[in-house]
Assembly symmetry: C2
Homo-oligomer: 596 residues x 2
């Protein structure tokens, strides 16, 4: 019968993302953000029907979606071309065109924090008048009045949770990714959520189970985050649920069944648990995907989950009993079955100092294998490469590249000490972990010494530049996607509300001048002798375009082979399908060309 | 609470179309063609789930979709930028990128006609070697062998139906839209489907209920098409089901229940009936929409229907019992409820010679009303303006225009004599019906004499040009969308397989020279004094670009106010959302400008 060629790389380009979702309080409508029509827009489905329809046309990334409990409006956050200056818009309940609601100068940010149970008061944070630490306001949606309720100080401050009676507020103050403290404000009184805010630890998203009881994840005095409780009546902190070598990251309250859902992280995979507040029992739940991106518990107790796996793109699932997950979406790779794709092997190796490093190894299928390996240091750096679908990875694999992605020191999911190892050491320990990973690939005959490429984005782009500069002998060619090229310029150019955390995270440019020089990729321009492709979004607020401009200019001055592609209408990622396809194609062509 | 503006015209631009669909034989997959992602592509849903996923990426219009009964492949027809040179492609059963299957020179056409029950033999018609009358081939999909099975002659010839045992074929020969004869070929024998092929009548899509029995719609010796039967054993023709003032247009066989579904036309609305072959009972069925675009009966007896109504875009529905229609898609206007849109009133008026003309009148809602009316002569001309969703109409209405669309003589749905009245009279009777319609609008105080616009496409564009040239006093401004400007050039430039029908349809340029001159819009250039906007697809094979080029050039030579917009990558319609939006915007701006 008719013979068909095997799936081509172009098919992977056509995969859509689902970035976030919201479910109306009556669960009759699910609204999600997706690039289904080529740019990110809001789509909706009228449950139980799942055929989606365009809900809001704006062609921009969506930072949050929130439905009014009484279905009078929907709120959504949009930025402009990825500049991350998110502002708050309102939509008619049946959808339409977003109307500005809480907005201001295009350089200001307005973060949605909370909508009161009656839908009448909107709590939001803003960079206005307090760009570094942020102020908290409440906007009365009935009369439009606006009140400043908290001035951030000491660190960027966010609203965490509000009691039902709106008398009590949980705030977080961020000193670093690994140092976030929480406090409760009741009237003029303020209490610390954890016993000692001076100790370095984090506090995650809190929930009120009643006006006096707050549950939240924290790693206070622990390697892994656990579920903790703060009792406002007795002002006592207590440890509630601890999991072995596993961090509780998300807590959602299921009022109807008096239980909490806990989302966890453990190395390259996420976990899901249920904690019964009456029986105090913890139960591990099946989940439909390896990685959970968003979890929502409806008033009915139904749970909605957005997540993905190595070979499954982002989809939304629903369960009525915490067990039988029903997919609500069917986002897939055009004409490619999961069997045609590659699930990663989880491997580990010993680094320069004996530390165990876990990594994902995606092995090209024999029929595709081109003999080359792509080494991928992930971004963050305080993040992890988990079992998650990346169209880019599967496109590389389809073309025959093997991919290796180590969770070097500084990665999340391996305990609090491990994640802190990248702080004030961006370029030494993590780099040597990557080098050890490369050597491990060679030693285990996974990769030929002559056939290694290096590709990374964000911190991974920084690491790609640094590895290139210091260890060019390993690589045939290097791709840098919005990577930091110089630590001095980087710490000065991040968004204002990031600046307070830079000292702990990266260091102080004056105090740590020697280290900054040592760990800045552009210190090693002489080493960067291999062909390079640099990709940058012009609107990127995290790693600004100058980071790429300057290294490209310096290398070209030296006559090096550098291709440079700037996307004028993107930030630190992709919001437009055509840009994504263009970049994938450039990367594939670049790698192909340099295989020889 | 939050106040929202009323829906804007931009929201109507975002509506999607669903142009056709196919259901796999096990009914586990429904594949449909839609511009969901901005260009026309194939999408699929795995029933009963209805979340669609991209099934084939090709960014071109789809002329048909056919699934292999054994699910080894899917066939689809694509042209290039609307040039209507459809060719046949194959897709892997799980979707992917279309592979050429029956294709040839880009100027040739390959029409899908039939796939054998075992999925192994593909019957198709082609312009290759017989551009005017078309040849029929069968391609063996197992070994790739190809056999010519019928050479068209006398008129463009299409395969109508094939008996299950593939011994017997029904063909149609087209002499005009109103003169289509059918014949049956069994081996070397050929029989006429109707008693006298010399009498002018039509035969529509036939079905075999067994190898000896053929049902089909025909208006043989009747004003309205009815269900007829041809018995191959006795070689007898018989009239089976006749409906009053209603034409049977579609016949589908439901083998599992031994019944036929009949799709009908009656003026501005479609109908749906079921005929029980055992009891000989006819039953009128409820339908979920006013207009039926496609009907499919599965082996199980389930019925699938694609259709729309005045205020409801194209959607697909399913019924298991012929009654309770369940929507499978939820295609709607962004944030606009049906109540926000306008359903047409059905009106009628007496024309110059006393003939009754039915028309659709869409009255602008009082809160939108701008006092102006758009007169819309439909295309075809042997077609009708039915209760069907047009985003363009609802956008006009939203901006406050009232719309009037008459079914002038020559329209379908009002009997065989009526539809023939436009033949060899393109410019007199139909034009005077339109003029009478305009006067009726004035007389009934629906329209102010100073506030009438004229907009038409295809034959409607021809009529707009002609009305403009001969009755400029009626109009403030005129929009012509790929309209015929000169009958002489038109009859010479249509697709080759249309040429055999031109004589009966339009006339003979030599014999009817005087009439061609009288009925050609460009005879009346002097009259065309009002501002004009002309829209044309560069690839249009029906009304070629020269038709618009020449009238625009001639009018500009005379210093007239003519805007001209050519879409380089479109034919006789829109396949790309961005082109559609551009044209809508141009039209709305043009009308707005000329209201003053």
């Amino acid at each position: 019968m008719i013979e068909f060629p095997k799936p081509t790389v172009e098919q992977f380009f056509r995969t859509h993302v689902i970035t976030n979702f919201a479910v109306s309080s009556d669960e009759k409508r699910l609204i999600f953000s997706s690039n289904l029509n080529g740019k990110v827009n809001l789509w909706a489905m009228d449950l139980p029907d799942t055929f989606p329809y365009l809900f809001a046309h704006h062609d921009e990334s969506v930072s949050f979606i929130k439905t009014d409990p009484h279905n009078r409006f929907v709120l959504a956050g949009y930025d402009k071309d990825g500049d991350e200056n998110h502002q708050i818009y309102a939509l008619p309940p049946e959808g339409g065109l977003p109307q500005p609601l809480v907005t201001g100068d295009s350089q200001e940010k307005y973060f949605f924090e909370h909508l009161s149970d009656d839908g009448e008061r909107l709590y939001y944070g803003t960079s206005e008048n307090n760009p570094s630490f942020l102020n908290m306001h409440v906007r009365n949606l009935k009369d439009g009045s606006d009140e400043l309720i908290n001035e951030g100080e000491g660190g960027p401050t966010h609203l965490g949770a509000i009691s039902n009676d709106e008398s009590t507020f949980v705030y977080y103050k961020v000193f670093a990714n690994t140092y976030v403290i929480g406090f409760v404000k009741v009237g003029e009184e303020t209490y610390d959520l954890t016993p000692d805010p001076e100790k370095v630890h984090t506090v995650g998203q809190a929930v009120f189970t009643d006006n006096q009881t707050i549950y939240f994840p924290t790693d206070y005095e622990s390697e892994y985050s656990y579920l903790a409780k703060f009792d406002l009546q007795t002002k006592t902190f207590s440890q509630v649920v601890t999991l072995e070598n596993e961090s509780v990251e998300t807590v959602k309250y299921d009022k109807s069944n008096n239980q909490l859902y806990l989302g966890t992280e453990k190395g390259v995979e996420h976990g899901l648990y249920r904690y019964d507040l009456s029986s105090k029992q913890v139960e591990k739940l099946e989940k439909p995907v390896a990685s959970i991106h968003q979890l929502h518990v409806a008033k009915s107790g139904n749970v909605y989950l957005l997540g993905n796996s190595g070979t499954q793109p982002l989809n939304i699932f629903q369960t009525t009993n915490g067990e039988d997950w029903k997919p609500l979406t069917n986002n897939r790779v055009l004409g490619v079955s999961q069997d045609d794709m590659v699930e990663p092997d989880v491997v580990s190796y010993s680094s320069f100092d004996g530390m165990e490093i876990e990594a994902l190894l995606f092995r090209a299928k024999p029929e595709n294998d081109n003999g080359h390996t792509i080494f991928w240091p992930h971004g963050g750096p305080q993040a992890a490469e988990t079992k998650t679908f990346r169209a880019m990875f599967q496109a590389f694999l389809n073309r025959g590249y093997t991919i290796f992605a180590p969770n070097f020191r500084g990665s999340t999911g391996y305990g609090s000490s491990f994640v802190k190892l990248v702080e004030q050491d961006w370029g030494e320990g993590p780099r040597l972990d990557n080098v050890a990973g490369i050597e491990w690939l060679f030693e285990n005959n996974i990769t030929d010494r002559e056939k290694l490429f290096l590709v990374g984005g964000s911190y991974g782009g920084y690491m790609a530049l640094l590895l290139h500069g210091r260890h060019p002998e390993y690589f045939k060619a290097v791709v840098d996607i919005f990577g930091v090229s110089n630590l001095f310029t980087f710490v000065n150019s991040v968004p204002e509300h990031w600046k307070p955390i830079m000292e702990r995270w990266v260091g102080d440019p004056e105090r740590d001048k020697e280290r900054f020089i040592k760990d800045s990729p552009d210190t090693y321009l002489d080493g960067m002798t291999k062909p390079m492709l640099v990709i940058q979004g012009a609107k990127d607020p995290r790693v600004v375009k100058e980071e790429s401009d300057q290294i490209v200019a310096k290398l070209r001055e030296k006559g090096r082979d550098v291709e440079y592609f700037v996307m004028e209408d993107e930030g630190h990622g992709f919001s437009k399908k055509e840009n994504e396809i263009k970049v994938y194609s450039l990367m594939l062509d670049f790698l192909q060309k340099h295989q020889a």
